[in-house]
C-alpha cells in the first residue's frame, strides 16, 4: 500500500531528541484538541543559536515524526535562521504530507515558534494537568 514517506516512518519509529531539556531557555506546548495530538518543544538558545532541542508528545505518527525531524533540523542553527523557517520548509523536509494532515505536521513548528518568542500568547487550549 502507498503509505507514509519513509522519513516519517523512520522518525516515528526511532524518534530523535525525545525527552525533556532541563536547562531549556524556551519551551512551549501546542495541542490539537481535535485529535488529541500534543507536543512540547524545548530549546536551549546559546550565543544566538539553538544549542539543543527536545520534544515530548503524544499523538499521531505525523506530528511525532515532524517534532523529531524538526529538532534535528534546528539544532546548531542560528535563531534568526530558524525563525525564518516556513511551513513549507518543514513539510518538504518531511517528504510531503497529505493535505488532510497538515495541521498535525505543523503542530511542532507552532510550538517551536512560541518557544522562541520571548512572550508567547497565553495558552488557552489545555489545562496544565494535561501536559
Amino acid at each position: 500500500m502507498s503509505g507514509y514517506e519513509e522519513i516519517i516512518l523512520d522518525h516515528w519509529r526511532r524518534p530523535r531528541n525525545k525527552g525533556r531539556l532541563p536547562d531549556a531557555t524556551g519551551s512551549a506546548v501546542e495541542a490539537n484538541p481535535l485529535c488529541g495530538d500534543i507536543v512540547r518543544l524545548e530549546v536551549k538558545v546559546q550565543d544566538g543559536a539553538i544549542a539543543a532541542a527536545r520534544f515530548t508528545g503524544e499523538g499521531c505518527a505525523i506530528s511525532l515524526a515532524s517534532a523529531s525531524l524538526l529538532t534535528e533540523l534546528i539544532t546548531g542553527k542560528p535563531v534568526a535562521e530558524v525563525e525564518r523557517m516556513k511551513d513549507e520548509d518543514l513539510l518538504a523536509a518531511l517528504g510531503g504530507v497529505v493535505k488532510t494532515r497538515l495541521s498535525c505536521a505543523l503542530l511542532p513548528l507552532r510550538a517551536l515558534r512560541r518557544a522562541l518568542a520571548s512572550e508567547g500568547p497565553p495558552r488557552r487550549t489545555l489545562p496544565p494537568s494535561e501536559v
Binding site: 500500500m1 485529535c35 505525523i62 497529505v98
Partner: protein, 404 residues
C-alpha cells in the same frame, strides 16, 4: 441489500486516490440517493415558494409539500404530525429541548442526568442549562463493556432529577440503550426524558410511543436526507408548555413593539423561513427508507456489523470498543490498532479509497472514560456491501504491516 440500491447513490461510483470509494463514515453523514437529490431539485424547479403565509396557489402548493413531509416523518416514528418540529439538525433540536426545559422545569438545586456516552450535542446544551439555572449535571457511568451502567443511572436518579437526557444508539460504541426502561424509571421520579436518536432513527424501526421518551431528536442528513434539517419530536402537552429557542417571523400570533404572543407548536419552534426544500428532501428519504423497510435496514446493518466485528475481534492487535454484539449495537464499529493513532489509520486507509473516521467523534468524555484520545470508526448504511467490509479488513491488515 439489492444491487439496485447501490445504483441509486451516484457518489458511490467515484474514485478516491484512483481507487473506488469505499465509504464507511455513514454515522457522520449518509450519502443521498437520486430520489432525494431529485425531490429537492424538482421542488425548486416546479413548486417552490415560501410556506405558511402565502395566499396564492404556488405558496399553498409549497406549504402542502412541506406539511406532507412532516406527515411522512411523523408516520415513520409513529407520531402525530403536530408533534413533529422541523429544526436544522439534532444539535438545534437538543438545544431547543434543553433551552425549553431549562426555562420551564429546572430550578436551582435540581439535577440533570446525562450519560458518559453522550455526543457533545446532548451534553453541552445541558451544561449550559445547568450553569444558567444553578442546577447540577450528573452523568451515568458507562460500563467497560460499553453498555450503560443501569445501576449507576438508578443510583443517580432522584426526585431532584428534572431531566434525563440520553443517546439511543451511541455514535461511538454503537450501544443500543434500553431507553424504554430508563424512561420508565425516570418518569417514576417525575423527570422528563430527552432522547438523542441521531443514530437510531436512520437505522432501526423507532416508534416514539414504544420508546417512552418525552422529546426525541434526530437529523435528516444521517438518514439519506439533506443537510440543514432535523427533527424534534415531542409529546403534545410538553411541546405546548415549552418556550421557543429562536424568535422571529412565522412563530408568533401577535406582535407589538414591546410584547408578543407565541403561536402553537410546531410553528412556535420554527421561527423564520424553515428549511423548506430540505423538508421535501427528507420526506423523500423517509419514502426511500420505508420502501426498503426499516426492519430490512436494521437487518442489513446487523449483518455488516457482525462481519466487521468478527474480523476485528479475530485480530489480536485490534481493540474493539462497545458491546461487540451486532444484535445490541448500531451499524458501526469503533476500534484502535495497538500503538497507532486513529488518524494514521484513517489516512492510510484513505490512500486505498476507504473512508473511515478517526477522532473523538464529538464524544471526548467517552474517550477519556476509555483512556484513549481517539478511536477509529467504520460505519455503514443501506448502500454498504459485505465486500466493502472485507476490503476494509484487509486494508487494515496492510496498515498494520506498514506501521507496526
Amino acid at each position: 441489500m439489492d444491487e439496485r440500491i447501490r445504483n441509486d447513490f451516484p457518489i458511490l461510483g467515484r474514485t478516491v486516490h484512483g481507487k473506488p470509494l469505499v465509504y464507511l463514515d455513514s454515522a457522520a453523514t449518509s450519502m443521498k440517493p437520486i430520489p432525494v437529490i431529485e425531490a429537492e431539485a424538482r421542488f425548486y424547479r416546479e413548486s417552490y415558494a415560501n410556506v405558511r403565509r402565502g395566499v396564492y396557489a404556488l405558496a399553498a402548493e409549497a406549504n402542502e409539500r412541506y406539511e406532507e413531509a412532516r406527515g411522512k416523518v411523523a408516520a415513520l416514528i409513529g407520531a402525530g404530525p403536530g408533534e413533529v418540529v422541523f429544526t436544522h439538525g439534532t444539535t438545534e433540536a437538543l438545544n431547543l429541548a434543553a433551552w425549553g426545559l431549562g426555562e420551564t422545569r429546572v430550578e436551582p438545586g435540581d439535577e440533570i442526568l446525562v450519560t458518559e456516552m453522550e455526543h457533545h450535542a446532548n451534553l453541552l446544551p445541558w451544561q449550559e442549562i445547568a450553569r444558567r439555572r444553578g442546577a447540577r449535571l450528573a452523568a451515568a457511568a458507562v460500563a467497560p463493556s460499553g453498555e450503560l451502567d443501569l445501576d449507576d443511572l438508578r443510583a443517580k436518579l432522584s426526585p431532584r432529577t428534572k431531566v434525563v437526557a440520553l443517546v439511543h444508539v451511541s455514535n461511538v460504541l454503537g450501544t443500543v440503550n434500553p431507553v424504554a426502561e430508563v424512561a420508565a424509571e425516570a418518569h417514576r421520579v417525575g423527570a422528563i426524558v430527552v432522547v438523542d436518536a441521531a443514530q437510531s432513527v436512520p437505522h432501526l424501526p423507532v416508534d416514539v410511543g414504544d420508546l417512552g421518551a418525552d422529546l426525541v431528536a434526530f437529523s435528516g442528513h444521517k438518514m439519506l436526507g439533506p443537510t440543514g434539517i432535523g427533527v424534534l419530536w415531542g409529546r403534545n402537552d410538553l411541546l405546548a408548555e415549552l418556550p421557543p429557542l429562536l424568535t422571529g417571523g412565522e412563530m408568533v400570533r401577535e406582535v407589538w413593539l414591546n410584547w408578543a404572543t407565541w403561536d402553537d407548536p410546531p410553528a412556535r419552534f420554527e421561527g423564520g423561513t424553515p428549511p423548506i426544500a430540505q423538508a421535501v428532501g427528507l420526506g423523500a428519504a423517509v419514502d426511500y427508507l420505508r420502501a426498503i423497510g426499516m426492519e430490512a435496514v436494521r437487518r442489513h446493518g446487523e449483518e455488516l456489523t457482525a462481519l466487521a466485528l468478527d474480523g476485528l475481534l479475530a485480530r489480536p492487535h485490534v481493540t474493539v470498543y462497545g458491546p461487540s454484539d451486532p444484535a445490541a449495537q448500531g451499524a458501526l464499529v469503533a476500534f484502535n490498532l495497538a500503538g497507532i493513532h486513529p488518524h494514521d489509520v484513517a489516512t492510510l486507509l484513505d490512500q486505498e479509497g476507504i473512508a473511515i473516521r478517526g477522532g473523538h467523534h464529538c464524544a471526548q468524555p467517552l474517550h477519556r472514560r476509555f483512556g484513549i484520545p481517539a478511536s477509529c470508526r467504520a460505519s455503514f448504511h443501506v448502500y454498504t456491501t459485505p465486500e466493502e467490509v472485507n476490503q476494509f479488513l484487509s486494508a487494515l491488515d496492510r496498515v498494520w504491516e506498514d506501521l507496526r
